[in-house]
Amino acid sequence: MASLVSRVPRLLQAVGRTLAVQATRSYADAAGPVGMSFTFGSPAAAFYNAATNVRQVDVPTFSGDIGILPSHVPTLAVLKPGKLTVYEDDATVNQFVVSSGSVTVNEDSSVQILAEEACRLEDIDPQLARSGLEKAQQQLSAAGTDAERTEAQVALEFHEQVVKALE
């Protein structure tokens, strides 16, 4: 399964206009271990780096969509393409689209979400997303070998999620 992760090409570059890089920094949480230390990034951009002002994160994983709050039970999960929502302490809601990757919740309530590609929902061009979806559908029907078919299916699933997230 994870070998697919390596083969998915730069899907998001096709749909995203600009990738806004914003590493959110926050004041140290005086309350101590109650908050979660949230790190979320992709190889190209780090959105949150050990941020402590995050209240909740909704994550799409292959074992289901999970909502992570501070003091969540430690777990590991594989990220699924889809929409990721971050709820900050001051009621700001940031939505992202992620391709695939890993989710880690540690015992000390620190959360690391590493996505192979991720960008803000606002940065996605709906037109490009829809045309990408059509192209992926064509690719799937034209796929010959097993490997091609799997790649096309991955691309298709990703684009479906992106279009769904935009609605």
Partner: protein
Amino acid sequence: MHPCCGDGLFHVPEIEALLAHASWVRDEHRSAAMLSRTALFVPTCTQVRGMATLKEIRNRLKSVKNVQKITQSMKMVSAAKYARAERELKPSRPYGTGAAAFYDKVDIEQDREKPRHLLVTIGSDRGLCGAMNSNINKLLKNYVKDNADKEIKFVTLGDKARQALYKTHSEYFMMTYSNFGRQPATFSDAAEVAEAVINSGYEFDVGEIYFNEFKSVVSYNLRPLPLHSLESVSEADSLAVYDSLDAEVIRSYQEYQLASVLYACMKETNCSEHSARMTAMDSATKNAGEMIDTLTMQFNRKRQAEITKELIDIVVGAQAQDE
């Protein structure tokens, strides 16, 4: 540089060569000259004291100037690449720390006494980048020497390691990647290496990634990061803390983390390489500049000495005619 004989006068070698023809001076000077010369090489030219001809100095000057141009342009190219590499390093650092965080928290012990070791080293293809690659090569050699009783395999990125070690240590090389360092590393590169390591079928007990961590423009550090095999992660005690894990999730997770960690290390290496090359070429350019200054001085003095010599010829000849 004119050597000064003991009498404290400033001697011009060409004039002395002329004076040496006068017999009453000849023996003393020649013996002194020969004594001083036995320690040096004997010059093939007729000029005295190992000083090159005007043409040789001019050629040398020309070649050093060319070298300076080359090193200067290499420095600029490296500076541009370094700027880009540093920019791309910024988001990849938290990415790498995030990827390694799980292993830190779980704190899996690597028992170095176990027999099978895997070393992944990240270097560069091209040289002139400081001590980066030689540090890695030295480390590999010493590792093999210190662990002679274990089974060790290398996976090297960057041609330099292969060039240095393949002849003598070919049995240790499992895989080597070239064409690394020219273009900035991408996640797909890291994923390719990770996939190859996992699919190689080599079941290692102890694994380490060695790379040059970028500290600042003038400094970088050779650092290891632990590389855990699937077995050691699955069998770790602290893994029980993590909820709802099955073998599939652990395997996928492990593969992705390996690619992520490799990606972060590659980015650091890129940055170190370009900054090291930039500083190396910068000091090479400065040195070349100094050499050019010295040679130009030498050239001018030589040129003036020759003019003086010709003048003396003319004056002496004229005087002889008058008499």
